[in-house]
Symmetry: C2
Subunit: 337 residues, 2 copies
């Protein structure tokens, strides 16, 4: 990333601030996550614990808890639903890693490498079913509607991503549709659950859903930039996964718009035909620098961040957690991990 795109991260970062503010609630959710991934078939908690113990930001359950607190909803209901949200997310991670043939997840060997693709597919199915059991226990048909819709949209987005992979004609509109579906839909649902638990006015719930949706889009755009950032390697993260998988993300689509004939041939050989040489990732990064792609992509994320901030203003007038959720937007876009 060029120096101009960097900013000093907020201390403590808003995700940590959220975790601190919701510490007791998040402990209750973590306990429920452990409890409800248990099964007499011990491979299930083994594999699920492996994924969950590897960490992860827990941003989705934190959003559900924060949204519930801001609207003064019954927080004990939120525990169950935040667990359901995290299980849906975990299931998609397990299936994604099989689909992407991933080697790494959260800085460890991916579960599919350790336990096999078969177990990853089936334990994903288990966690997904368990999420619906939790929602059914909660008993709100409105929330079941929100989260079953989100689940269908996530799967649809993942399939769409599959069909755009290695396809150099993929447009920014198609890219945005993919990330809106595969990532932002669950952020939106996680946020919407809070005001719905609280019985808030529909327009408030809708505004919270929009905050989550735009935050999720910004989050994924930033993620797609980070996948090319050499600096991450110093943090033990792999880079270039999207490049090797031929995933058509914003940096590549924007670079293709600027490409001369030679550059286009480079993108066609690599991302189009999946023929890679050892120096190709470096070439891609150089092309991104040449056209200032990182800053331009993050500027797009900022546009969605602004929409998220506006939606949050519509949803909530004043609350200590609101400030953190506001700060979370720019942190999400300028984070270094």
């Amino acid at each position: 990333m060029s120096t101009s795109a960097k900013q000093t991260p907020l201390k403590p970062n808003p995700l940590e601030a959220l975790s601190t503010e919701l510490d007791d609630d998040m402990r209750a959710v973590n306990a429920m996550i452990i409890d409800r991934m248990d099964s007499p078939v011990k491979l299930i908690p083994q594999l699920a614990t492996y994924l969950v113990a590897a960490g992860g930001k827990r941003i989705r359950p934190l959003l559900t808890l924060a949204a519930t607190q801001m609207f003064s909803g019954d927080i004990t209901r939120a525990y169950r639903l935040a667990t359901a949200v995290e299980f849906i997310h975990s299931a998609t991670l397990l299936h994604d890693d099989v689909v992407d043939e991933s080697d790494q997840r959260r800085g460890k060997d991916a579960a599919n490498l350790v336990f096999g693709n078969q177990a990853s597919v089936l334990v994903g199915d288990f966690l997904f079913s368990r999420a619906f059991q939790l929602m059914t226990e909660d008993g709100s048909l409105e929330i079941l509607r929100i989260l079953s819709n989100a689940s269908a949209i996530i799967a649809q987005g993942e399939v769409m991503q599959l069909t755009t992979a290695n396809n150099l004609t993929t447009t920014m509109e198609e890219y945005e549709e993919v990330i809106k579906s595969k990532t932002a839909a669950l952020f939106a649902a996680a946020c919407e659950v809070g005001p719905v638990i609280a019985g808030a006015a529909p327009e408030k719930a809708e505004a919270m859903a929009k905050y989550g949706m735009y935050l999720g889009i910004a989050f994924q755009i930033a993620d797609d930039v980070l996948d090319y950032m050499a600096e991450r390697e110093t943090l033990g993260k792999t880079i270039g996964d999207d490049f090797r998988e031929g995933k058509m993300t914003a940096p590549v689509i924007l670079a293709l718009q600027e490409a001369d004939n030679e550059e286009r041939a480079f993108w066609e050989r690599t991302m189009g035909n999946r023929e890679y040489n050892s120096n190709d990732l470096k070439t891609a990064q150089d092309l991104f620098e040449k056209y200032d792609i990182y800053n331009r992509t993050l500027a797009l994320a900022d546009e969605y961040g602004e929409k998220a901030a506006n939606a949050l203003d519509t949803a909530v007038s004043d609350h200590p957690l609101k400030t953190i959720l506001q700060n979370l937007i720019s942190y999400t876009i300028r984070r270094e991990l």
Copy 2:
């Protein structure tokens, strides 16, 4: 299969009789299946249609329709829920074929071969989510509970099957637990939905669930015998899949109980260590003949069939469809496909 285990199939067979009796309803369900597997992401209906158009017995949605009719429930609600049941089944088929690395499904190349493992996993997730959308539209939390429980139990059974594969110490009790979970739980749920739609007494719903559970166990035991039956090859079906995958099913577990040292070494080399020679399937079949394994396995299926018949008697006193569901039990066990 030895000649003694064969019986003349009923004409018309009870599955055909059920389809005829419920023809209008099944047309409505088939229309809904096509309608609800649609998506703007065209790979989804393409893959799903490939699976569904390949046929399949539609036994689960037929059970939901029949159970609803027998208890005079609102049949239009049953359409949506029968579709949900078939979608859960289709999702598990797609994921199973990835897990088993299957070549064939319903006499055609399996979807994972045609569309890839990635698409099969993700379209399975889509169908699964869609099933929960359909249930949420129906709006019965009791039915959501029944079907989300069944889904979790199916996944649990599939994982358990994975852990028992290639393990020669697998017991009949463990085998029965696997098939009860991976197969019978959805049969049970498909049947239970009918009386629940109708608001029937809980003991009636429970008895219908038991009918489905025992029918499903008998169905799977028969399926596991059929997987070794040479006669099926004349019908274009593959045989020996379970043998090659090291799946510990009833015929193998029973044969192991009788095995002398040489035979045990054969099972250990093949199913235990997955070292196969071209003549091994024939040897396995010969061992089954030697110990009359087919008849003994089907006798076990008959025991469950009897339990299914008793449960059906508890559930329903008299109804034209009841007779067909009774006949379905022995047909399920002695079918040739």
